[in-house]
């Protein structure tokens, strides 16, 4: 294959990764932006989505119905777990930023070890719901991966619609800006927090459901999405949704290109160096609030 073909393949791979990463990081960014909670357990919610997809695929008759069912059951179950965690843990520590970091580290291990006990240590494959290849002039490419990108784009648009066009979205944005004044205008801030934590978890779970036919489900699979989401959210600016999306595409596509031409490890090293650079030059992130 020519350099151009390789480059196109790398960009394609990177774009698919970017869409999934944007979905995962958007959940983390929303939770931080509205609740000021750094959810260290976010990657485990991604992993739960993947494990639930495997579980549902075992019960469903065929891969397509398993996949469609998982797209509904995954985010609902994980969203429910997130609401329970909000009520049982975050609310108890009064959403104190430092305490919630420690609390979500605890949640990370609780979820991870529970999955290890119930699901086991093995990586398990989930059959893709569709098998077709899109033929480009230089190579054929997985149709399922393109559908993952399209579904992720649809979910990102749906999240944008929720935030910009609905009452709940307006409540979320008002709470993000000033939770005390929001309460003075009838916004049930605690319920908004629970909804945001559920939405963040649900988005991560959806990303997990979408990637499991590509990656396999494993109880330790939450680490990479967590690290990449933090990279994206820090570069984009904590709490900035626009910044999160832009950073997800910068990191996702550059990760794809560097991984194809050099190595995935180099891609992670460069992304981490970029985070360090952003933290030094612009601690609030490229699109976050400038420090006072």
């Amino acid at each position: 294959m020519s350099f151009g073909a390789y480059f196109f393949l790398a960009v394609l791979e990177g774009t698919v990764s970017a869409f999934v990463l944007a979905l995962t990081a958007l959940g983390l960014s929303l939770v931080f932006g509205v609740m000021r909670v750094v959810n260290v357990a976010h990657g485990e919610l991604f992993m739960l989505g993947a494990v639930i997809a495997w579980w549902v695929s075992q019960m469903a008759g065929d891969p397509l119905s398993g996949f469609l069912l998982a797209l509904v059951v995954g985010p609902l179950l994980v969203g429910g777990i997130a609401i329970a965690a909000d009520w049982a843990i975050l609310k108890r520590v009064d959403y104190n930023p430092e305490a919630t970091i420690v609390a979500t580290i605890g949640l990370l291990y609780i979820i991870q070890q529970s999955v290890l006990i119930l699901y086991g240590p093995d990586a398990r494959a989930v059959e893709a719901p569709f098998y077709f290849r899109v033929q480009f002039p230089w190579f054929g490419y997985s149709g399922y991966k393109l559908i993952v990108a399209a579904l992720s784009a649809g979910l990102l648009l749906a999240t944008w619609y929720l935030l910009k066009k609905t009452r709940l979205g307006l409540y979320m944005r008002a709470t993000q800006y000033d939770q005390e004044t929001a309460q003075a205008f009838g916004v049930p801030v605690r319920r908004v927090y629970a909804a945001v934590f559920a939405l963040g978890g649900g988005l991560a779970a959806l990303a997990g459901v979408l990637v499991v036919p590509i990656q396999q489900a494993h109880y330790l699979m939450g680490h990479d999405p967590l690290l990449l989401s933090f990279i994206v959210v820090i570069i984009g600016g904590l709490g900035s949704l626009r910044g999160t999306l832009i950073a997800a595409f910068v990191i996702g596509i550059s990760d794809g290109v560097i991984s194809v031409f050099f190595s995935p490890t180099l891609a992670k090293i460069l992304a981490t160096l970029l985070v360090a650079l952003v933290l030094v030059v612009r601690p609030g992130g490229l699109f976050g609030a400038k420090p006072a």
Binding site: L170, A174, F185, G186
Partner: protein, 236 residues
Amino acid sequence: MLTVEALSSHYGSVQVLRDFSLALAPGEVLGLLGRNGAGKTTAMKTILGLIRASGGSVRLDGVELTDLPAHRIPALGLAYVPQGRRLFGELSVEENLRLGLMVKDKGKETRARILDLFPVLSERLGQRAGSLSGGEQQMLATARALCLEPKVLLMDEPTEGLQPSMVAKILETVRVLKGQGVAVLFVEQKVEAALAVADRIAFVENGTVCETATPEALHADPAPLYRYVGVGQDAG
């Protein structure tokens, strides 16, 4: 209408309000005056449930408010114009107003009436609230609160940092509300502005209402102004 009795509240272990009492009738305008740190803003926030009361009661038309979560109080008829406006600056003017309208699911008629009162906002509906001028921001903060069609409006330093024409506009708005039977409780640093619009002035010191007087009585004998606000000490 609004009755506050023996209200107390704390910041951590520090008691800020103690035995704070006042009453407001429909259409009455009550000004709270006092030095910085006297507890005026804390009193407003405690009445609104934004700071939890540690004792006493706040009743609006007989309904006890101190038992309710803060977000349920606005729908009962208490609206708030915070100190420093505290608009949702990243949201548009329209969205700020919509938050007010959603409290009681008020629709187009209320919105149109509010925009008639503040016509300049009609031209700025799509603009980011944070990009408005200081006077426009104060108008929006007031309009947002009026979208609730409140029985009682609480205004914390509504004329702070405004030019004289805007101060006059805000005071005129208070008079219009009074004419509509809305009770107004406001904190004010500009004594003349407070005396111009209030039916009564309550002086706050050390978290409690020490004395109340009418503007006429204060014009005749300004001693409480010297005592609680420090106004005219040199002249006295």
